[in-house]
């Protein structure tokens, strides 16, 4: 078996579960119902099949996830993805960071922001608690957003009133601040599933 990927990347890894997923053929009605919400019928990912081991939470989680990440109005899709990236960097969830860094790059048609974020971690010797240099190459709004989401993702949260005010000063509306909080918090949830229940492996 390949070794799990340790460094941040924008190439989406294969997610290899550490527990045995539900077998679709043996799924209960409740598990099928919980999974149905997520898929367009063809292929159900291993991640969903793992979470289907607890169908009650999956049933609620899927619409919540989609509502926060793809809901109408508020924070742009790209900046919502950035909240996910910030949390995933703090929690060192290589898989989530790759998926959402990749989406950010697709949406913005740039690579320099993610390059700066991932690069600053390498420069800090892989210690993402000390990514103080993360702001240097980011515009003021993006830096404020990343800082806030990074601090909110610590345990306990280190986000302060001044960090929140900085978001407003950099042009975020209150609705956008709420969406950023939801996105970063949601990945405090998602990272604790993806990073804990599986390994990121090279594709193929």
């Amino acid at each position: 078996m390949s070794e799990p990927i340790k460094d941040f990347t924008t190439v989406v890894p294969h997610w290899q579960p550490r527990v045995i997923p539900v077998e679709l053929a043996n799924a209960t009605d409740e598990q099928l119902e919980a999974m149905k919400v997520t898929v367009s019928n063809t292929k159900i990912g291993e991640y969903t099949l793992v979470l289907a081991l607890d169908p009650e939470t999956l049933q609620q989680r899927t619409p919540l996830f989609n509502g926060i990440m793809y809901g109408r109005g508020g924070l742009s899709r790209a900046e919502t993805e950035l909240g996910a990236v910030a949390a995933s960097v703090v929690n060192r969830c290589i898989y989530c960071a790759a998926v959402h860094a990749n989406r950010y790059n697709e949406l913005t048609k740039t690579e320099n922001v993610i390059g700066s974020i991932f690069g600053s971690i390498e420069n800090a010797g892989g210690n993402e608690d000390e990514n103080a240099d993360v702001d240097t190459e980011l515009d003021a709004r993006t830096a404020a957003l990343m800082d806030f989401a990074t601090k909110l993702s610590q345990c306990p949260s280190e986000a302060t009133k001044a960090d929140a005010e900085r978001l407003i000063e950099n042009g975020l509306s209150m609705g956008e601040v709420l969406d950023l909080i939801l996105s970063a918090s949601l990945f405090g949830w998602a990272n604790r599933l993806m990073h804990v229940l599986g390994d990121p492996l090279p594709q193929d």
């Binding site: 527990v19 939470t57 929690n91 060192r92 306990p156 929140a164 709420l178 939801l182 918090s185 949830w189």
Partner: protein, 161 residues
């Protein structure tokens, strides 16, 4: 559902006369689904091998690890037999190998998820948890971690509103 009756709104001290009412109302679907997830994580119809009392105790413990006093008190209201011991951060499970493994895992993933490895899943299995219970425990830890941050964020919004 009245969004101001949800656990997160109440814990953040938000009431229907809040200047944030309009902003929160636009995301009422998210607040409702958050409340539903709270029920599915803390008081599921099928709790499997993780009792409601253990879940409340663990959620309370996690709130303490996050210095989240208001949610600590909220989770205390859900306590059942045995919750108190689990919520005591000075208690590591004692002679109960299963409980000890659950508490150790909860503390690790709450405070330092990046350090979790495949060995931690093996340790839960060795202590007698089946894979469904490992996912149930993971969802509980993950949801409460989310909820704690939503509350922290909403509180900051209220401060600058």
């Amino acid at each position: 559902m009245d969004i101001f009756e949800t656990v997160v709104a109440k814990a953040a001290g938000l009431t229907s006369d809040s200047p944030l009412k309009g902003v929160l109302t636009l995301r009422s679907d998210i607040l409702e689904l958050t409340e539903n997830s709270h029920e599915a994580s803390l008081r599921p119809i099928q709790p499997g091998g993780l009792t409601h009392a253990e879940r409340a105790g663990l959620a309370c413990r996690m709130s303490k690890r996050n210095d989240e006093a208001v949610l600590t008190r909220h989770y205390e209201t859900l306590f059942g037999v045995g919750s108190q011991a689990v919520a005591n951060t000075g208690f590591d499970g004692g002679d109960d190998a299963r409980l000890k493994a659950i508490i150790r895992h909860t503390d690790l993933v709450t405070t330092n998820p990046k350090e979790a490895t495949a060995d931690d899943i093996t340790a839960l299995r060795s202590a007698g948890l089946d894979d469904a219970d490992i996912v149930r425990l993971s969802e509980l830890i993950a949801f409460v971690s989310y909820q704690i941050r939503v509350v922290a964020g909403l509180r900051l919004m209220a401060e600058i509103a």
